[in-house]
């Protein structure tokens, strides 16, 4: 299916799955999902030294990161339309072969981020929650992202 405008894509997207805010066309979807993942990385960058014990605990940075992940988790499932399999992307074909699992992983990421926003209050709760939280990332990158690093 080839979409020409965001409007028609949105209509079809809504028709296909209620609750999906926006379905973009191939190239736009790739751009948008890459931007979201870039934001995830940027948000995680200051968290890594805290996890390693090399930077002081910073609740604001953690909450900002979790909100970034939550935003991405909500938007990502709609950003893999069939016409976005190829192009400037490292997305693997496995995404479109395992749609249910792929979407469920973003649902879990979102749920875990929501839970962590309540749970993480101080350094102790941060250390108890976040290392496990970040396993969400590798799990998806393992199956669905072409290895580039």
């Amino acid at each position: 299916m080839r979409m020409t405008g965001k409007g028609s894509a949105a209509i079809v997207g809504l028709a296909l799955s209620a609750g999906v805010a926006l379905a973009a066309s191939g190239a736009d979807a790739i751009k948008e999902r890459r931007a979201l993942m870039k934001e995830n990385g940027e948000a995680t960058k200051p968290i890594v030294p805290i996890l390693k014990g090399q930077a002081p605990f910073d609740l604001a940075a953690v909450q900002k990161a979790l909100k970034t992940y939550l935003n991405a988790a909500e938007k990502m499932p709609a950003l893999f339309p069939p016409d976005s399999k190829t192009g400037d992307t490292h997305a693997l074909p496995a995404i479109w072969e395992n749609t249910a699992d792929f979407d469920a992983r973003f649902k879990k990421l979102g749920d875990d981020a929501t839970a962590a926003l309540t749970e993480v209050k101080d350094e102790a709760s941060f250390k108890a929650t976040m290392p496990n939280f970040y396993k969400n990332c590798g799990g998806c990158h393992e199956k669905y992202r072409e290895k580039e690093n």
């Binding site: 995680t44 590798g138 799990g139 990158h141 393992e142 992202r145 290895k147 580039e148």
Partner: protein, 304 residues
């Protein structure tokens, strides 16, 4: 035909036959030496072997398809390479289908010499050029650990290799080119940080098997080891992990990424490295520190 010419023909025939015989002998499967065979047959320590198991990441290839428990080692996940498809075998202790009936010497022959239980060459999809560098103690302990995991029944399909790679005998020539020259395997692992790091990277960890570019025959290009390479299945690449590729990484960045997947840039390692990370999360921090320390000492080589 004169007598002289026929003598020459016979002479040439003898030389050709001698060369063929020498080639046959030189490329014959060669099991581990008697001293190693004796030492590896001593009782091993399964608890220490469990750490070797996670360092070597046996489950990355030998896990039964669809399994997440790293000790279900029924094998069979297809390994696609430019030479064809390999189906890593069942290494669970099942007596009929796995390695439950193997001796420690059978195990050492496979791992350190690339020789099967029936005395034939194994393909280097099993990274024995790396495992040849393992200490006898680690091999013995690993074997002891593998005896403790659950038996899984079922055999894997035969490898599906393209000609001429399907000629098993030719692996003997490959070994002449690419097996490390090791007169006598180490009895035990080195202990100082840098030597241990090198041992873990080049031996059990077999990092260079994915992270080094290879020749068209599939041998690691020694001058460019760890310089990064395309992955065997053609999907993506394994990065440069010499000090050239890791210039912006501290030793603690490397060690932390190896056990959590999280990189200093906020990314999370994926692809086949995700399984490596799961395994390395189970090994002592000191080993990760040793690996990180050694990698920072490796200078990038060649043209990458």
């Amino acid at each position: 035909m004169t007598a002289g010419r026929s003598a020459l023909a016979v002479g040439i025939g003898i030389v050709v036959a001698a060369m063929a015989a020498a080639g046959w002998v030189l490329t014959a499967p060669r099991p581990v030496d008697p001293q190693t065979a004796r030492a590896v047959s001593e009782p091993g320590d399964p608890a220490a072997g469990k750490i070797v198991f996670f360092l070597a990441g046996c489950d990355s290839c030998h896990l039964s398809p669809g399994q997440s428990d790293p000790t279900r080692l029924g094998g069979g996940q297809e390994l696609r390479t430019p030479f064809g498809s390999f189906f890593p075998p069942n290494i669970s202790p099942d007596r009929a289908d796995g390695i439950g009936a193997w001796s420690a010497v059978d195990f050492a022959n496979a791992l350190m010499a690339g020789v099967s239980r029936d005395g034939r060459h194994l393909y280097p999809a099993l990274p024995y050029p790396s495992y040849a560098r393992m200490s006898v103690k680690d091999v013995r302990d690993l074997f002891a650990f593998l005896r403790t995991v659950p038996p899984v029944s079922g055999r894997t399909p035969p490898d599906a290799l393209a000609f001429p790679f399907s000629i098993r005998k030719a692996v003997g020539f490959w070994k002449l080119l690419y097996m490390p020259a090791i007169a006598q395997p180490l009895a035990e692992d080195p202990t100082d940080l840098e030597s241990r790091g090198r041992y873990l990277v080049e031996g059990p960890g077999h990092c260079g098997e994915c992270h080094s570019p290879r020749t068209f025959l599939g041998g690691v290009i020694a001058s460019r080891r760890l310089n990064g390479a395309p992955l065997p299945d053609g999907k993506g690449k394994a990065p440069n992990i010499t000090d050239g590729g890791l210039a912006d990484w501290s030793e603690s960045d490397i060690a932390y990424a190896l056990s959590t997947g999280l990189t200093p840039s906020g990314d999370s390692l994926g692809g086949p490295m995700a399984a490596v990370v799961r395994n390395l999360a189970q090994v002592p921090e000191q080993d990760l520190a040793a690996i990180a320390h050694y990698l920072k000492t490796v200078k990038p080589g060649g043209d990458s």
